[in-house]
Subunit: 344 residues, 2 copies
């Protein structure tokens, strides 16, 4: 019987994850039962939220159990189907995790049309990261024409979409990214009005210069020093959608220092800020709008994307650890198996 591979959570990380927190295991090729599909993983999406799933701390989702396969969104090929809704050869997007093959009853699987674009975009610009950008920016941030939108991790899957949607809506988009190469890409290829290097010791002053009219929307996906530089520049009635805090994912045990909360809340009051956390599933009702708009913008060339591809399931832990450190460029994917969608 042929063997499959999966990567399981070997142990919970203390601070930054290390390769020792993961373990590659073999398992027997599963069989699709009554009503089920056998799926071959092609693309595995790596996303910052996965760091949260590795810890036991209460969050908006259950943690991955130690010894269980890491969770994740994937694009797969149906290799066998006992489910009338799916046929052998179909491509589907689902959450089948860090493994080469999986079995599903079809619930939560979305069939993809390879004619609409590369199937990998179903876990990127036309998938969860794109929808996070779309709903967080439009439903919470609500940028108006001429307003200033700032987003960090601007070359990443979410941030790159945030700034481009802001531009489509007539706002000024200022990105923050790690290093001159990423900043050049954000400005020159993605068309942001400006992009600053978060490693610049003078970030606060440069951000102020790049936002002469202050900041109306700060799309928060990193936290840390970027948040500190942004916060004083927020305008009255600014909106702060919060979808992630990658700078804090490894250091959540810091002791409370309530005085700072007072300072922060004073600004919330004085400037009548709106700070609102969200996860993309809160806006599930907007999925059709998202797909309609984003796929149109994508086809029209208004929405560009970039993929960093790591080869083979075994490379996933290292690629994931690197992504948390900002080593990726654009959407981080693992190519788990060959993509034969172009042959269709």
């Amino acid at each position: 019987m042929s063997k499959c591979e999966r990567i399981v959570l070997a142990s919970r990380p203390a601070g930054e994850p290390t390769p020792a927190n993961f373990r590659l295991e073999e398992f027997d090729m599963p069989v699709a039962g009554e009503g089920e599909l056998l799926l071959r993983t092609i693309w595995l999406s790596l996303d910052p939220y996965m760091r949260g799933r590795m810890s036991e701390a209460a969050s908006y989702a259950q943690p991955v159990a130690v010894g269980a396969a890491m969770e994740g969104g994937t694009v797969s090929e149906v290799v066998a189907s006992n489910n009338p809704k799916f046929a052998k050869g179909d491509f589907v997007m689902g959450r089948t995790g860090w493994q080469t093959y999986s079995v599903s009853n079809g619930v939560g699987m979305r069939k993809l049309d390879p004619a609409m674009g590369p199937i990998s975009t179903a876990v990127g610009v036309l998938g969860m990261p794109g929808m996070t950008a779309y709903t967080g920016l439009l439903d919470i941030g609500q940028p108006k024409e001429g307003e200033t939108v700032v987003v960090a991790a601007a070359s990443g899957a979410v941030g790159s979409a945030v700034g481009q949607i802001a531009k489509i809506k007539g706002a000024r988009a200022v990105g923050i990214a790690g290093g001159p190469e990423k900043c050049a890409y954000v400005k020159d290829t993605l068309g942001f009005d400006d992009c600053l290097d978060h490693r610049d010791p003078d970030l606060a002053a440069k951000l102020k210069a790049a936002c002469p009219n202050g900041i109306d929307v700060y799309f928060e996906n990193v936290g840390g020093a970027v948040f500190e530089a942004v916060f004083p520049l927020l305008n009255t009635f600014a909106r702060v959608p919060v979808c992630g805090l990658i700078a804090h994912y490894n250091d959540f045990d810091a002791p409370p220092a309530p005085k700072w909360a007072g300072m922060m809340m004073r600004q919330v009051l004085v400037k009548r800020l709106t700070i609102r956390g969200f996860i993309v599933s809160d806006f599930a009702a907007r999925h059709d709008d998202f797909l309609r708009d984003m796929s149109a913008w994508f086809r029209d060339g208004k929405l560009r994307h970039h993929e960093s591809v790591s080869e083979g399931l075994a490379s996933a832990p290292e690629a994931f650890i690197g992504m948390l450190k900002g080593k990726n460029f654009g959407k981080q994917l693992v190519q788990v198996g060959p993509d034969n969608s172009y042959d269709v």
Copy 2:
């Protein structure tokens, strides 16, 4: 010529205001010019926001200049009128400040009908504090039936209205107030479901017990230790309208300690909290709704209020300083002159 009195800002406070920051001055009785009114102050409202006006720090309004009369909402009698919209003997609500007489061109003055209720309520439950409670709770907090609403300073002008409106809307109302007498009033007279003493060293545990289903709306008007006790109990999708931070009004110079912002923002994300600052004038468009609903509730006995009255303009500084320390009980007023509205 007869003399009037006013209280001016003598100096800016460092920390808590003291009597030395105020000075009582005499001035000549003013004369109403073309289109103007001469007003005799009856009721002066004392409100926590006035502490902000005493400092130079940037806020949502200009500070009071040193040497100028303290600002404040008042109820006055028109004693002379050269303005066709107002007649001698009318009662008006306006912002004429800490003085016994004033002149106005009528802009921003609202005529009061003494038959609708005591005219002092125009700066209390049917005035700015009531409208702060109404709009902050209903437009931002949006309590649903069966949800839990927590408000601090629950015996005060804003907090007492917040809890009673929450009850009218079918929510559970839990107050926090200073001392057993206030707590008993909040529960027994105002009809809150529970009220806790913020001086109780065991506040966090008692609040948890009083909110067995967590907190869905926290109406933030104090900050400090109460905020710290409330924050861990906020439910997923909780809303935090922020209209004041009385605990911090004297200590805004604390140095930032960014780690706490990370902790706080993590909860914003995980629980998808909405934290939104507001001041009552942001909801000016809701004034008619407010007056219609609140005056009906007031007439129907669903909305009770309590006034702490300090006698004479000269008593205002001490009453104000006491209010910032929580010494008042209900809405804090200064009776500047006799209220003859009952004779009308």
